[in-house]
């Protein structure tokens, strides 16, 4: 088996591996950002000055961002805040596209299988979104202004 054959068989690995690398990069740059904020705060503290409020805010909103991105699965409930219908649309589109590919003559059955998998995922996501839209918490009127959320 030569390299071309290997690429032909495993080209799709580019996407998961690329996603994983992006995750690592995001983690490192997130860390860098937070550490730099701490460093600046430290230089204020060393001079005995009161740090600007937005620097402290940067730490807080960082925490919120971490929760929103679901770095820690224990905080799953925080994701509800950002529930959008985009995921349903993307999954449904993938299901339709892959299903269509699978219906073409001479195509691999993998496409049909993937289309069905994405279809099931889209339907499940749709039902979950529907449930959370009907029974979930309402959006607060001042949500955009609340930066320091610890209680909910």
């Amino acid at each position: 088996m030569n390299f071309e054959q290997l690429f032909r068989d495993y080209w799709w690995l580019i996407f998961p591996v690329g996603g994983m690398l992006m995750g690592v990069f995001g983690m490192i740059s997130h860390h860098y950002h937070r550490t730099e904020t701490l460093r600046i705060l430290k230089s204020y503290a060393d001079q005995g000055k009161e740090p600007p409020a937005f620097l402290l805010d940067a730490l807080k909103s960082d925490e919120d961002r971490a929760l929103d991105l679901d770095y820690d699965r224990g905080y799953r409930k925080h994701r509800r805040r950002h529930n959008s219908w985009g995921g349903v649309v993307v999954f449904a589109a993938l299901a339709v596209g892959l299903g269509y590919m699978g219906q073409q003559a001479g195509s691999s059955p993998v496409f049909t299988a993937l289309g069905m998998a994405f279809g099931v995922a889209a339907v499940a996501l749709f039902v979950l979104k529907l449930i959370s839209a009907v029974f979930g918490p309402r959006r607060r009127y001042d949500e955009d202004k609340r930066r320091d959320r610890v209680d909910d």
Binding site: N2, M20, V24, M27, L41, D46, L59, E63, Y71, D72
Partner: protein, 59 residues
Amino acid sequence: MTELFTQYWWLIFPIFFMVMGALRLALRNSYEQKKLDLMKAYLDRGQPVPEALRRDNRF
């Protein structure tokens, strides 16, 4: 070599997640260390520690 890859390509995923977990631990450790340093700087000067630092800034 390619034979090995075709049989064990899926090992990419578990190994990657192990590496990522270790990296996350290391980054978190370094962050907490710096945060403690900063808290110590406040305490050494007799100033109150800001509320934002008291919170657990999780990854």
